[in-house]
Amino acid sequence: MSYSERHVLETLIYLPMLAALVLVFVPRPQKTLIRWISIGSGLALLVMSLYAFVAFDYDGGSRFQLQRSYPWLDQLGIAFALGIDGIAAPMVLLTGIVSLAGTIVAANIQRDNKDYYILLFLLIAGVYGTFVSMDLFFFFFFYELAIVPMYLLIGIWGSSSKFKDFDRPKEYGALKLVMVIVAASLLIWIVIIGVHVESGTGSFNIEIIMASIDHPSRFSGTFQSVMFLMTMVGFGTLAGMWPFHTWSPDGHVAAPTSVSMLHAGVLMKLGGFGIIRIGMMLLPDGLQEWALLLFIIGTINVIYGAVSALAQHDLKYVIGYSSVSHMGYVFMGIASMTAVGLTGATLQMFAHGIMTALFFTIVGGIYERTHTRDTLVLNGLASKMKWGTAFFVIAGLASLGLPGLAGFVAELLVFIGAFQTQPILGALGVLGAAITAVYILRLIGRTFYGDRDPKWDNLTDLTRREFIAATILLIPLFYVGLYPQPLLRVIRPGVDAILAGLGL
């Protein structure tokens, strides 16, 4: 490995931390300088992520690549070990894309943007850390680190919702989000320690633990069964799994735009990623035992999320519930335990991450201009916000699975995988996609077309910054939709290795 290949993964963690540290010493009134430092760091992160993705050797390379390990705590067998496999590599790329778009959009923040960016970069460091850690301790360390800043980000810079019949103060969303996710993450805590102790390897390194599973006496059926259920609920909650999803719409609605982008775009993916990393890789028998339940819950997610989105008329609630719905495809893909399905699940995480970030970019822009997200009030915006409409419509079309956009490829693969194992549930999943089409088209029709209310006459189109952020998100949406091979080539060896572990 070259010097840069050896250090790229740790740089992905250190760079956002360094950015946060630098910002600590920039005087508060220097708002423009703070913006440029942050956007520059975001750009550097995207470049590093792209580099890591390209450096991943998809044929002939070992399973975990760009590996790096530093001793950290010998007594407990913890090492600062980094490495990415075929599942983590696309997630790293996704984080890079969304982080850059997020830092650009966050430039709209006026109040205390220094503190905002510091917390945002801590969150980004946590997300990267979780994706690239091979040591389960650090996996959990960064996982928690990614959640903690959310409370302040939403609580301070978020927005409260007022409806005719109920109020949702921003603190409510912030507190609910953090409490629910932290509570669920404690299940993961127990799973990680349990797996470590039970493996008898004295190590937290995932490769070493996996090597020990081949030994027939390790990890009894009951142990795997209990641990997988905890893994499923623990990570599933972050991925918006029904019935533990209620924090997600409330949290997204309360969050400021760039936090929503990162949260729905990347952080929720940690949940799906965690189920694959710990559930599938370390507890294969547990997955096989609970696969049907996961499948059913995934299907419920798809339908329930879509139907709930149908009933909402707040733009962010619609997107929030559509996230719940789309994450259902990820669960279905995992539960199908087929190469196609799992590939689709990984691709869906990537595609959904990009399209939701794009949605939130535009919705945030609309909210900043109109101070409302209510589709009963918003209408006919298309004539005033040409670019905004265009981006939103493309994100919507990706969301409902139009061919040529990333969402289509991902959902198609998930459906193929689903039909191979559970045709009935797979069919219900397709029904969910149909409902998605209904609420997305209705939303677009209401908000952007029709007669314009005179009070929106002075609306301005996207600013240059918003336009750039949206374009950054648009490119991969089309690229993956039209030419998914580069991603699939990377995902495939990861998927094959996992399925080999499952004995399939």
Partner: protein
């Protein structure tokens, strides 16, 4: 019999420094309040620094038993000696502004802190029940006086009376327990008790009564449920630096003593006492975290939170293994840094605003951003979130507990962690989210700001670079006899 007095030089220095502080206080003219305060504080800090330096330079490789095992001078006692000296320095630094503003007996105040540190040090060294008892009394009497030292406040009077009365009762119970243990075993030396407790019939009724009563007496010091009732009132009523002293020094000393006792006397018969201790741990964590929910006073909140933290320590003690002992010592270190950071912030708030309810933290992120950040870090550390000490030490404790098949206890522990996060977040919400009209900057005294930074840095250091701390803890733990073989 080893009666090498030179091994006790650090303790002599400490006691001497205590009397020196009293003498300095006597010599300096009464009228110069400020000067007396600063000079006595400086003398006390100097005494502590010399003690620490002498101990570190002369006792690094010492492993001796004085007077046939009444006192152990080993790596374990050295680690706690240094920790206690550090706590003493921190509390004195915290006190200088506080004493100047609120109290009028600087000499007695600082001297008593030194005696408390001496008592705590002897507790960590004791290898025998009566020696342990006398050390506990030295610590307790110093604290009784310190709690009541700022007169004129009804809450202080209540706290002081409660502390002395309940303390006296717990002392009596403990002494009775010791007599039972002596009656049952014919010895009070930890090392001689150990072998006698292994084997059928060793845990007869007399022995168990004695053990329970001894544990109850120590449980009072630890504020272990059900002996915790005094803690919130005393925490609230005592001068805030003394609250910090009780929360860190007295707790850490009791843990040091209990860990040595359980290791030397009980390691071989762990199966007899592990389950009862595990249950006490469970009850302590649950009661501590649930009782904290309705609190509105930050000191009471920290009192209940420290009860929960003691529950976590008991999880480690009930695990009865080397890793668990490492984890306990590490947790105590992290807990000391974290609490001292939090209490430093509370002291500033109390000095500048004259109040210490949680609502008074409103808008602190605007009025003193650094303090708000440090307080947030301390609270996140207490809640067990990265990158702070609490995350690692809890992870360590839970790993040790699951290693010893205490999964159910870990489930309870993590559940209480969630509850505790809720009430820590309430404080953070006040500091960052609640809008206030009062926006003027709070002037933070330099000494207190520096202290808060040091403690904050320590909290992060344990959380991010734990290796040296774990090495120190491990070296200390392996100097205990039963685990020396590992």
């Amino acid at each position: 019999m080893n009666i090498d007095f030179s091994l006790l030089i650090p303790e002599f220095i400490l006691a001497g420094a205590g009397f020196l502080v009293l003498l300095v206080d006597l010599i300096l003219p009464k009228a110069q309040e400020h000067r007396r305060n600063v000079v006595t504080a400086a003398t006390a800090v100097l005494g502590l620094v010399v003690t620490g330096v002498v101990a570190l330079t002369t006792q690094m490789d010492t492993s001796e038993r004085l007077y046939d095992g009444l006192l152990f001078i080993d790596r374990y006692s050295l680690l706690f000696k240094v920790l206690f000296v550090g706590i003493g320095i921190a509390v004195i630094a915290m006190s200088v502004d506080y004493v100047a503003q609120k109290m009028n007996h600087p000499g007695e105040y600082y001297a008593l802190i030194l005696f408390a540190v001496l008592g705590a040090t002897l507790m960590a060294e004791s290898g025998e029940l009566l020696t342990a008892f006398i050390s506990i009394e030295l610590l307790s009497f110093s604290l009784y006086v310190l709690v009541g030292l700022s007169r004129g406040d009804a809450r202080t009077a209540e706290a002081s009376a409660k502390y002395i009365l309940l303390g006296a009762v717990s002392t009596a119970i403990m002494l009775y327990g010791i007599s039972q243990l002596f009656g049952a075993l014919g010895t009070t030396l930890f090392t001689e008790m150990g072998p006698l407790l292994i084997g059928a019939g060793a845990w007869n009724l007399t022995m168990i009564t004695g053990f329970v009563m001894f544990l109850a007496g120590l449980g009072f010091k630890l504020s272990m449920v059900p002996f915790h009732m005094w803690a919130p009132d005393v925490y609230e009523g005592a001068p805030t630096p003394i609250t910090a002293l009780i929360a860190t020094l007295s707790k850490a000393a009791a843990i040091a003593l209990l860990l040595r006792f359980l290791a030397e006397a009980g390691a071989g018969s762990g199966d007899e006492w592990r389950m009862p201790l595990a249950m006490l741990a469970a009850v302590t964590m649950v009661v501590g975290s649930l009782s904290a929910l309705p609190q509105t006073n930050i000191k009471r909140l920290l009192a209940y939170s420290s009860i929960t933290q003691i529950g976590f320590v008991l999880v480690g003690l009930a695990s009865n293994s080397v890793i668990a002992a490492d984890a306990v010592v590490l947790h105590v270190l992290g807990y000391a840094f974290t609490n001292l950071a939090a209490f430093t912030v509370v002291v500033v708030i109390e000095l500048k605003l004259g109040k210490e309810s949680i609502a008074d933290f409103a808008g602190l992120s605007k009025r003193a951003p650094v303090l708000a950040m440090i307080m947030t870090g301390a609270l996140f550390s207490l809640a067990g979130l990265p990158i702070f000490a609490g995350f690692l030490t809890k992870f360590y404790l839970f790993t040790a507990a699951i290693d010893q098949s205490l999964e159910w206890l870990v489930v309870i522990a993590v559940a209480t962690s969630v509850i505790s996060l809720y009430y820590y977040i309430r404080v953070i919400r006040e500091m960052y989210i609640t809008e206030t009209e009062e926006g003027s900057k709070l002037p933070v005294p330099l000494l207190l700001a520096g202290l808060a930074w040091v403690m904050f840095a320590g909290t992060i250091a344990i959380g991010v670079f734990p290796q040296p701390f774990v090495d120190a803890a491990h070296a200390a733990v392996t100097s205990l006899t039963p685990w020396a073989i590992y």
